[in-house]
């Protein structure tokens, strides 16, 4: 089970890299979103994937799930969500101001007119 999710997260990260290497701003943003999904999946896998065990460390319970990675993922997802929202708004604004969504043309020191 772990192996499948690791391969899946590898595919996600690979496609994220492909998307981020393109020139369009929107594709790059989708790429970062995919990258964060791949990374979160990896984080989930690190706590071992098990079914039906309670996440409580007790003296009687010998077999328990690790709740920590899930708590971490929740935090990381919220952060990634906020960042994606912000960068999407910024992409819209910079498209209106700069008149391009091609990163090749976003260089040098543009002057305000």
């Amino acid at each position: 089970m772990e192996l499948i999710t690791i391969i899946l997260s590898g595919i996600l990260i690979g496609s994220a890299v492909y998307m981020m290497l393109s020139k369009s701003v929107l594709r790059i943003i989708i790429g970062t979103a995919l990258l964060s999904h791949g990374v979160h999946l990896m984080l989930l896998t690190m706590g071992q994937l098990k079914r039906g065990n309670i996440p409580v460390l007790d003296e009687e319970v010998s077999n328990y799930s690790d709740p920590l990675p899930q708590a971490l993922i929740l935090t990381a997802i919220v952060i990634a969500f906020a960042l994606t929202a912000y960068i999407l708004v910024l992409a819209l604004r910079s498209y209106r101001e700069l008149g391009t969504d091609d990163v090749e043309q976003m260089k040098g020191v543009p002057h305000d007119d």
Binding site: M20, V25, I28, T32, L35, S36, V39, H40, M42, L43, T45, M46, G47, L68, P69, L72, T75, A76, I79, A80, A82, L83, Y86, I87, L90, A91, R93, S94, E97, L98, M106, K107, V109, P110, H111, D112
Partner: protein, 497 residues
Amino acid sequence: MTTNILPLLPIMIPFFAGIIMLFTGQRPLVHRVIATISSLLIIISAIWLVVLVHRNGTIATFLGDWAPPFGISVVIDMAAALLLLTTAIITLFTVIYSFQSIGVEREKFYYYVMVMFMISGVNGAFSTGDIFNMFVFFEVFLLASYVLITLGGTKIQLQEGFKYILVNMISSNFFVLALAYLYSVTGSLNMADIHTKLEGFEGDYSIMSLLAVVFLFVFATKAGVFPLYFWLPGSYYAPPMPVLVLFGALLTKVGIYAIARTYSLFFIDNVEFTHQMLLLLALATIIMGSIGALSYADMKRIIIYNILIAVGIILVGVAMMDKAGMLGAFYYLIHDMIIKAALFMLVGFLIYRTGETNAERLGGLIKIHPITGWMFFIAALSLAGVPPLPGFYGKLFIVQSTFANDNYIAGILVLISSLVVLYSVIRIFISAFWGEDMDFSRLKPVKSDKLLFASIAMVIVSVAFGLAADALYPMFEMAAQSFYDPASYSNYLPEVE
């Protein structure tokens, strides 16, 4: 038992100040007052912390009273306390500097709120004892810095801000990935606990070397280490001066602090590989920074490349990881935060007064701004490390440590870089303050008393820091100890059977 709230104050004061400012609406004057008062409060709490830590040793607070290593702990050792104090001083003077330089429009749109949120995140990253919590605080100050870099919405800010955000988002994702690996290897997130576990572990450490590379990738991107500094000169050029003061003085230094913490606590076994890698990258950073600083005539660019040189020098000390090296690195870290803020402020004053960023188009300014001119001269000497100014002691210890470890090339490069730094900054001084008079009628009639007050105060802080080096030595010894002797950092953990 109630939670000891004192170590949390430097995080909570700016956070609540920011929220209160949000509720007061778009009133620049109210925001100014709240920002100044809260920075003063942070300074007071930071001084209190320094005194307490100096007297009793490391202070730790366990949030929600969960015993470590299970809960989140906020751990303030001497290093964190001194960094908090320096951050607080820089914040106060930058806020005062912003009054006359950032512009009412930006002030209206919650500039001070974002500054306070950023300081909250920076302080949190300095004082947390939990590696995932450090990631969260990194995101807190990065998110605030994304707003600060694009606030105002000029073309260059949007263009460079987009790149800045993109680079930092990617490296943050790798931070999460590195944490996932670290958690699966060690089963803990408390930094002190990870250190004790790794120290007692007999076995194959090779995955830790892999982790060292991932962590270095993450923090080197934030700190601007070769070859991942490529975003830094472009992005730092975009925002207005007060924002640049905060970024240049604080943000890269948080990355360096994180490198020093992780490399002293986690990567203790395969030192030949991890620390040698760090040393090589640090030297390459110094060289690239020197080339950049020499090749521009633009004042902003010159000092931006000087950030890179300083990052390299500090990391040389960190890579040595012995007493002298860490002492020097830590001393130079604090020194560089103060002096970079002072220099950026002085250069910012020149830019606001003349409307030029190219030093070669200025000249003869010493006739109308004699005090500013000589302050700039002192700041330049201090940056290069002329005794008795503070840059000297840091470099002395670092060079001493490189020679003691037979890394002669590293020591010599650090020394040569001081000459480059001196030359690049003195060149600004000579062409802007001496030389043929520029057309003084082109000067802008800006109100500048608060600009000058803040920048001169920062220079005085720097000089005082150098003159008091002897008195401060025991504190720096304590601060460096938690790096070169990481077991002393882990002491606050309760004994485990």
